[in-house]
């Protein structure tokens, strides 16, 4: 792909140095895999990499969060439900009363209230909102995370370029999606490393019976033969195995970063005790360590066909606090300018209540929020009618959303993929425009 935004080719004169350092690390043998991070010991390179590095944290609200109980409340209307709205820091803008913390930092958030998409079933909608375009079999478009991993990831980084934090509830559509092909035509190198539930990555400890040198030598031998085999057979399966081995070796060098116990207790308390809060804190920590893309999911608790109000009384305050803590923490650490935080699901929920106290899937009019890199804080874009049934102003869809995310992160949204024997594909097709009102 011809793309000047690909940060793997940083253009620095120190690039050669880092390659030499990398090779030295491997051939010396006595150095452990920590030599991967050793390349950052060259000050000039580290500085450039740090300056260029953009990050993205996706709070994936799988199941489809209700716009009524979050960003687009309609209090007092027949569709409004029992929760009221509250004023925000932006004059005239109200969020749900369940979001007092986000209301207090509305000047740092950008909210779009006019999403209108076409898929109302989870699997199709998750695909749509994770890949940014309709499915076109047999070609598999990479997910947002894979694209960002490729574009923002750094060669030799000890942290995986695409991390998915999720406690993995059983038997749902998101679990089915997770078993699918995330990286599509980008290849196995850009699939996510999934961690969740127990926080720590298991089975990444090097056995005491193997010395660092032996460990490195074995890895080199495996790499040599498998690469040779891969080249001779042109096997994508072997390529995938190699990518997996490389990933595991990377994980062995950074598994401690996934250990929440190393984080301050005060931080853990601030983010709340549930898995979503703890994983969001971990995402912050991983970004601080250089992770380019972290997706934080929490199963599908937003899919409230039953007990909508009874469940939202809990999950929305949890989300409210998580966004508040995350945005403020990133800002305090000087990372918000370079980190895009996105909170969204695959659709919204119906204005009307079903017989089971629930709201059902609704792609016709829904909302999402962003903050950080490239985003204009305080922007509230689009509108729905008084009952939240139809978009009345500035309708946007998944293509606008993806063009916005790429633009905010300094990635060319319309770059053409270099795919031999494939039809022509672009990151965002048809040059669909980003949501300019929320971009700086």
């Amino acid at each position: 792909m011809a793309d000047e935004n690909n940060i793997k080719d940083c253009g620095s004169p120190d690039h050669g140095i880092h390659r030499r350092k990398f090779l030295e690390g491997i051939t010396a043998g006595s150095l452990s895999t920590f030599s991967w991070s050793g390349l950052f010991s060259v000050p000039a390179f580290a500085e450039i990499a740090k300056r260029k590095q953009k990050h993205c944290i996706l709070l994936w609200l799988c199941g489809g969060p209700s716009q009524f109980e979050t960003w687009d409340p309609k209090p007092g209307k027949p569709t409004g439900g029992p929760f009221k709205s509250m004023p925000t820091k932006i004059p005239g803008v109200h969020f749900s009363e369940l979001m007092p913390s986000c209301s207090s930092i509305a000047d740092k958030l950008a909210v779009v209230r006019s999403m209108r998409t076409a898929q109302k079933e989870h699997t199709q909608a998750i695909n749509l909102l994770q890949r940014g375009n309709k499915v076109r079999p047999p070609f598999v478009r990479p997910t947002m995370g894979s694209v960002l991993a490729q574009q923002l990831g750094q060669l030799g980084s000890k942290i995986p370029n695409f991390i998915l934090l999720d406690p993995c509830p059983e038997g749902n559509e998101f679990k089915g999606f997770k078993a699918g092909n995330w990286a599509g035509w980008l290849g196995a190198e850009y699939t996510p490393v999934r961690v969740g539930g127990k926080y720590k990555i298991p089975d990444t400890e090097k056995l005491d019976s193997i010395t660092d040198g032996d460990h490195e030598a074995r890895a080199e031998l495996r790499r040599f033969f498998s690469k040779k085999f891969e080249n001779e057979t042109k096997s994508s399966a072997v390529e995938s195995y190699n990518a997996t081995f490389d990933r595991v070796r990377g994980l062995m060098s950074c598994s401690d970063l996934f250990d929440l116990d190393r984080l301050p207790t005060e931080d853990r308390e601030r983010y709340g005790p549930g898995t979503f809060g703890q994983h969001a804190l971990l995402a912050r920590s991983l970004v601080e360590e250089g992770a380019p893309f972290v997706m934080v999911a929490n199963g599908m608790p937003w899919d409230t066909h039953v007990f909508n109000h009874e469940i939202y009384q809990m999950v929305v305050p949890d989300l409210d606090n998580i966004i508040f803590q995350l945005v403020n923490d990133l800002e305090d650490r000087g990372l918000l300018e370079d980190t895009l935080v996105v909170a969204m699901g695959e659709f919204g929920r119906t204005p009307w209540i079903n017989q089971a106290r629930g709201r059902d899937h609704y792609p016709n009019a829904w909302s999402f929020a962003m903050a950080g890199a490239g985003v204009k804080g305080g922007a509230v874009v689009g509108a729905t009618d008084e009952m939240g049934i139809e978009v009345t102003d500035s309708p946007y869809d998944e293509r606008n959303l993806f063009a916005t995310i790429f633009s905010a992160l300094g990635i060319d949204p319309y770059a053409e993929y270099d795919l031999p024997n494939f039809p022509t594909f672009h990151r965002v097709e048809e040059k669909i425009q980003p949501i300019k009102e929320i971009l700086r």
Partner: protein, 354 residues
């Protein structure tokens, strides 16, 4: 005993009915989620007589007053004769989930509590305000504040007005002796609470209705059996009976709904017939063939049942026991050009006992 029921009336209301109370001249008061308390006469004519700013969760009648509670945590006293509001107090910071007047008409109880994340598995956090409040039904003065783990979704006074029982999301029942203000007993039943294995890891369900047996020796709980998928609403249609009053003995489950007779769905309400021979449990049917069932008090089996086609939130027997009413609603449905269809319902059933 053979009991048959036959639906005789169905009245439409603008929105879902959460609670009912009997008024003078065979009137019914219906509390609805549009913020209205409606007065309905025998012919079904309806007037909105009280307005709340949010869902009205409870309506009760006491000493010539209508006492209604809402999701803003308010309690309103309104004169039946004049229709004027006599008093309004802010009882809770969060919803009043349910309210009841004591059988002696001296007290009104209301329960509250927001489910907030309290642990790794999304256990509810501790209360930030008393979960149960008991007021003087006439003066509105607070009599008792009791603690529980929120959200507390249901309560009941004993028939002798001496005890108050309240149940929460996690299936914990606490009973207080109102003569001393002390907790008399408590126990936990896991049957009504589901932790999501599928979709999301959090808790749903809980005890939606509590009733004392006519002799006050048992406490009946109603709700939905545990479910792995919190978005499905497919737990058992469940009630359980507990003996609770034996001095020195821990509360013990005596009986529950028979697996062979029940389907799936949330049961929101349980109420005893005035002569105590049977009780009715009602709610929503997810799977099975009934959402209203009459159970023999002595044997626990179903005497008769029916699928009424609505979600039922409250049951009200006529004083003479020849009729009962179900308050609830259908799905809200999509908006039409002139607005939403009326989706609240009150269904009247005739009871034949032979």
């Amino acid at each position: 005993m053979k009991v048959e029921i036959k639906k005789k009336t169905e009245i439409k209301l603008p929105s879902h009915c959460l609670s009912m109370a009997p008024g003078p001249d065979e009137r019914l008061y219906a509390a609805c989620v549009d913020g209205g308390v409606y007065s309905l006469d025998k012919k079904g004519h309806q007037d909105k007589i009280i307005s709340h700013g949010n869902f009205v969760s409870g309506v009760n009648v006491s000493n010539g007053l209508i006492v209604s509670t809402d999701y803003d945590g308010n309690i309103k006293w309104t004169s039946i004769d004049s229709g004027k509001e006599q008093r309004k107090i802010k009882a809770h910071k969060f919803w009043s989930w349910q309210s009841r007047v004591s059988p002696d008409s001296k007290m009104i109880g209301s329960v509250t509590g927001q489910y907030l994340v309290g642990g790794y598995k999304y256990e509810p956090s501790y209360e930030t305000e008393p979960s149960i409040k008991v007021f003087n039904a006439l003066s509105g003065e607070i009599i008792y504040e009791f603690s529980h783990i929120p959200p507390v979704q249901s309560l009941a006074f004993s028939n002798d007005s001496r005890y108050l029982a309240a149940g929460n999301l996690m299936g914990e029942v606490r009973v207080w002796d109102l003569s001393s203000g002390k907790m008399y007993t408590s126990w936990n039943t896991p049957s009504f609470t589901g932790w999501g294995i599928i979709k999301g890891h959090y808790y749903t369900g809980g005890i939606f209705s509590i009733g004392f047996s006519p002799d006050d020796c048992s406490i009946y709980l109603a709700g939905m059996g545990s479910t792995r998928d919190p978005a499905a609403g497919n737990g058992k249609q469940l009630w359980e009976e507990f003996s609770w009053k034996d001095q020195g003995m821990p509360p013990k489950m005596k009986r529950s709904a028979l697996d062979s007779e029940i389907g799936q769905g949330l049961m929101e309400t349980l109420s005893f017939h005035p002569d105590g021979a049977f009780f009715v449990m009602a709610g929503r049917m997810f799977k099975g063939n009934w959402n209203i069932a009459l159970f023999d008090t002595d044997k626990g089996n179903i005497l008769c049942s029916q699928n009424s086609g609505i979600r039922c939130s409250d049951i009200l027997f006529s004083e003479d026991g020849t009729k009962f009413y179900i308050g609830g609603g259908k799905s809200q449905g999509k908006k039409k050009v002139d607005g939403f269809d009326s989706w609240g319902r009150i269904q009247g059933f005739e009871i034949n006992i032979s």
